[in-house]
Amino acid sequence: MTPFAIAPALPLHAAGKYVAGAYIVFVVVILIYVAIMALRLSRMERQLVELNHDLARRDEAGEAGEHQRQARHPDDPDGGREPARAGRSAGDSSL
């Protein structure tokens, strides 16, 4: 006889609702956590879109500035550009 053949059937007496309740609590806690994680993920996606948008805007502004500089200093290969300011390499982020 296999273990599953001798397994007791699920009795549906009074204890059933308590057992169901305990396991549902577990599932609900996990689901709440997953929902919070999903919200965070969507926020992160929004920030990523925003970052892409900012970068595109910066690139457009950079290109426009480059054209203006070239127009003002046609003989200078550097276009009278100032050295670029270095950004910080490490982020100080709140989590």
Partner: protein
């Protein structure tokens, strides 16, 4: 910067398989308890949740020791997430236990059982961990003080466990002892699979949380590098560690 998402897919699948196996064993394999009957099946979710949450608090304490020893703030972040997850598991254990108490003893809560009350004390103590962090504005001090808190809390867990074991009067059944378990074979097997499933779930969620926080940090660092400091909004005060 480390990547916490590595191996997360395999771990998630393993967790899902183990928890599914545990549920199959609980509801289709393990025999009914002679005295408690069907209600005893709560044991397979309540006890693993409680054990894993307590181990999570100790884990958070160990990571806090690492933080103080090395000064590496990433250990503070790991400790924070470990305690955070353990607290979630602890609340689930408390709720499941309360439901079992109502069914078995007729009360949602009893104050004369040292196991219950001591567990509540541990849980409430760690519930103050996040507000405690939030109360300290300076990130360096916040990380240091939180680590001291986590170490003391983590050390309190086994001491508390020993104290409860020494208690003579209790309502809680003593199923697992230092010399072994009082469970018959099928029940012990089911319990161990459930414990493994919940422990894997804890590790998986810890890694998920770490991966999410790491991704946010990396994105902010990238934004700072690409756009410069002026375009980054100042950080609001937070209980969460900042690196």
């Amino acid at each position: 910067m480390p990547t916490y998402g590595k191996g997360l897919r395999g771990l998630s699948i393993l967790t899902l398989v183990t928890i599914t196996a545990a549920l199959i064993l609980v509801f289709f394999y393990v025999p009914l308890d002679a005295t408690q009957g069907f209600i005893q099946k709560i044991f397979y979710i309540h006890v693993p949740l409680a054990i894993v949450s307590l181990c999570g608090f100790v884990f958070g304490g160990v990571l806090a020791v690492m933080h103080l020893r090395t000064g590496d703030r990433r250990y503070d972040l790991r400790s924070y997430v470990a305690i955070h997850m353990a607290l979630i598991f602890g609340v689930a254990a408390l709720l499941a236990g309360s439901i079992w108490a109502k069914a078995s003893w007729g009360h949602w809560w009893v104050w004369n059982d040292p196991t219950l009350v001591s567990y509540l004390i541990v849980l409430l103590m760690f519930a103050t961990y996040t507000p405690f962090r939030f109360s300290i504005e300076d990130p360096e001090r916040q990380a240091r003080y939180a680590s001291v808190f986590a170490i003391l809390g983590g050390a309190f867990v086994p001491l508390n466990f020993i104290a409860v074991r020494a208690a003579q009067e209790y309502v809680h059944p003593r199923v697992l002892t230092l010399t072994g378990s009082n469970l018959p074979g099928p029940m012990l097997l089911t319990f161990l699979v459930s414990l493994l499933g919940i422990a894997l779930l804890y590790v998986t969620l810890w890694k998920y949380e770490m991966a999410a926080k790491n991704a946010r940090m990396q994105m902010r660092a990238l934004r700072r590098r690409l756009l410069g400091d002026d375009d980054i909004r100042p950080l609001p005060r937070s209980a969460a560690p900042s690196l």
